[in-house]
């Protein structure tokens, strides 16, 4: 019955949303996640049989995001957070990362998703995610002028 799809949305929605928002920003990412879930509903018979539905839906969301003709960024223009909310240099630094690096670093270190979960979404290997993470952190540390403390 319908519960299986509800459970799917409950389990998949947060991860899909986190990834697409990290990749394409709040507005476009959120819309893309909604469109991807709608696509999942529309093709549920097929989606539920997939080995990695969240990875597939991430690509659906990517396709949806390309239709948006708004400038990309983590936040809509003119909608910057208060300084007390987010380190002011962080958002520009995140914007300089590749989409995959931004998704990896925000999902793993920001939201607490596992590296494996992120690898599934991006449909890449765990070691690739580790590389994205490592490079992203180096760039963020440089941008935030933070000393490396391994």
């Amino acid at each position: 019955m319908g519960m299986s799809f509800d459970s799917f949305v409950e389990m998949t929605g947060p991860r899909l949303r986190a990834a697409l928002v990290a990749a394409y920003g709040v507005e476009i990412g959120q819309d893309a996640a909604a469109e991807a879930l709608a696509y999942a509903w529309e093709h549920w018979e097929r989606i539920q049989m997939m080995r990695n539905p969240v990875g597939y839906l991430y690509r659906v969301g990517q396709t949806a995001s390309r239709r948006a003709r708004r400038p990309q960024g983590l936040l809509p223009a003119g909608d910057m957070p208060e300084q007390r909310d987010v380190e002011p240099r962080l958002l520009p630094a995140l914007a300089q990362l590749s989409d995959s690096q931004r998704v990896a670093v925000l999902m793993v270190h920001g939201y607490g998703w596992s590296i494996t979960s992120v690898a599934e979404v991006l449909e890449v290997s765990v070691s690739t995610v580790r590389t994205h993470l490592s490079r992203a952190l180096v760039r963020l540390q440089a941008a935030l002028e933070v000393d490396r403390v391994d």
């Binding site: 659906v60 979960s117 933070v146 403390v149």
Partner: protein, 219 residues
């Protein structure tokens, strides 16, 4: 790795989640870290315990997927919404039936694109009804739910479109032209999927709109 960067990333994630207004973390509310060593692992739960939790979740999901494949007749359907009703809102005038084999459909929709061709109407016919009033805006239909949900329908659109919302995720999917809208997917609000028999009340700038989801054959 500097914990300062991680701290800032967490603060950023917190802010983004507040901004989006919907969950973006692992469902358990705990860190979903699988123990893979990536720099700072402070906050990483014990690996063994986590593996057990993940394994249990995977098993539960697999069982759920196997036993609860939803029959197609329980889906919400595509419905044709006639937008021509003057000041009375939008009312369903037609619906589409398609009983094709899902596998046959799957073969024809392998591309994950969201263009019009990807929207095969695989669901059985149902009727959705949207009652409301148009705002004064030209070619624009806007309404809000609880002050957080706003979406706009551009009546002049041609082809596939999505009505999407801010705050809560709600999306009405379908095709439209100048005269009509075809809904081809259900309505999401957060993790809730509204189904036949449900009603949504949408408080908009031109009054309260009610969206009734009706089953096949219902008037």
């Amino acid at each position: 790795m500097s914990t300062d960067v991680v701290y800032e990333l967490r603060e950023c994630a917190n802010w983004l989640e507040r901004r989006v207004g919907l969950p973006m973390r692992p469902p358990t509310g705990e860190p979903d870290n699988d123990g893979s060593k990536v720099g700072d692992n402070s906050g990483t739960p014990r690996r063994g315990r986590h593996i057990v939790v993940v394994a249990c979740c995977v098993a539960v999901v697999a069982v759920m997927v196997m036993v609860s494949r939803r029959p197609a007749e329980h889906r919400i359907s595509p419905a044709i919404v006639d937008t021509s009703v003057d000041n009375g809102g939008v009312r369903v005038s037609d619906s589409v039936d398609d009983d094709r084999d899902p596998m046959e459909v799957a073969e024809s929709t392998l591309s994950p694109t969201l263009d019009g061709s990807a929207f095969d109407r695989t669901d059985p016919a149902r009727v959705d009804e949207l009652i409301g009033r148009w705002s004064d805006s030209v070619n624009t239909f806007t309404f809000a739910l609880d002050g957080t949900l706003t979406f706009t329908l551009d009546q002049s659109c041609d082809g596939t479109y999505a009505l999407s919302a801010r705050g809560d995720i709600d999306v009405l999917f379908g095709d439209c032209d100048d005269a009509s809208v075809s809904l081809t997917a259900p309505i999401f609000r957060g993790a809730t999927v509204y189904r036949v028999g449900d009603s949504l009340y949408l408080d908009g700038d031109a009054g309260v709109f009610r969206l009734d989801l009706k089953g096949e054959g219902e008037s």
